[in-house]
Symmetry: C2
Subunit: 150 residues, 2 copies
């Protein structure tokens, strides 16, 4: 049987172009629009939040798949870039989100030849099962760099 | 001519099921999975981040449209609930995000009869031009409650 689960956030307007958001799992913070859209620097914005949702979801799924695939992860960093298209009628859409993970794995002599292939499969699996990647219209591109240490 | 703009975030794995994210506009924070998915309470999660992206984007667009529509906004609060469906093959998707804004407006005697109608139009416009609402596959439902004070 398929199942459902729900997640909640609450926004309160603070005046001018300032809001405050409480996340269901606990943290809360101020937000605004980007400075070039009548907002403020230094705080959460809807644009960054959308890109962060993809980046954090792929990260958590990849950590989970490395455990299932018995990969010895040394480090993981990932830059994500979301590209929005502004149409002539002023509607906007994120057409793509490109992720550039830098992944360092440890391998012994036996695993040396297969570890990068297994890590690529783990990354594909992370994308396939990512809730956020599956919930956005944007094309998700993952362009990884692997390093294997011994 | 259509135009594009880009937004960036950077994730760093901190060990176990912990990550750290830096948003392009400045803020940074730790994140994890939800506690019932091998994560931790009290921090940002991908699930909350997705729902927050929709909620913050509709908020900022509504603030902007109230200014254009010359509405006198007194307060705005909005609960958002994202529902994810877990399929039999374990893939997941946010099928809907329901927003329940409570909107208080001030009106003089002349505006009294038209202010709620104008506020509904402002909310429809906010949804139409919301970058995040346009970028997700989820059905966006907005179920507002209006109050007019004099």
């Amino acid at each position: 049987m398929s199942r459902t689960a729900t997640y909640h956030t609450r926004v309160t307007w603070k005046g001018e172009h300032w809001g405050h958001i409480q996340m269901g799992n606990g943290p809360e913070m101020d937000f605004s629009a980007p400075p070039d859209a009548h907002g403020h620097p230094g705080v959460l914005t809807p644009e960054d939040t959308f890109v962060a949702a993809v980046n954090t979801c792929i990260t958590m799924m990849f950590l989970w798949t490395t455990e299932r695939f018995k990969l010895d992860l040394v480090s993981y960093e990932c830059e994500a870039e979301g590209t929005k298209l502004i149409e002539l009628d002023r509607t906007e859409i994120f057409t793509s989100v490109t992720l550039r993970p830098r992944i360092v794995l440890r391998a012994n002599d036996e695993e040396r030849s297969s570890v990068e292939k297994r890590a690529r499969r783990a990354l594909e699996s992370a994308q396939k099962y990512s809730l956020v990647a599956n919930s956005v219209k944007s094309e998700i591109r993952i362009d990884p760099v692997f390093e294997v240490v011994y």
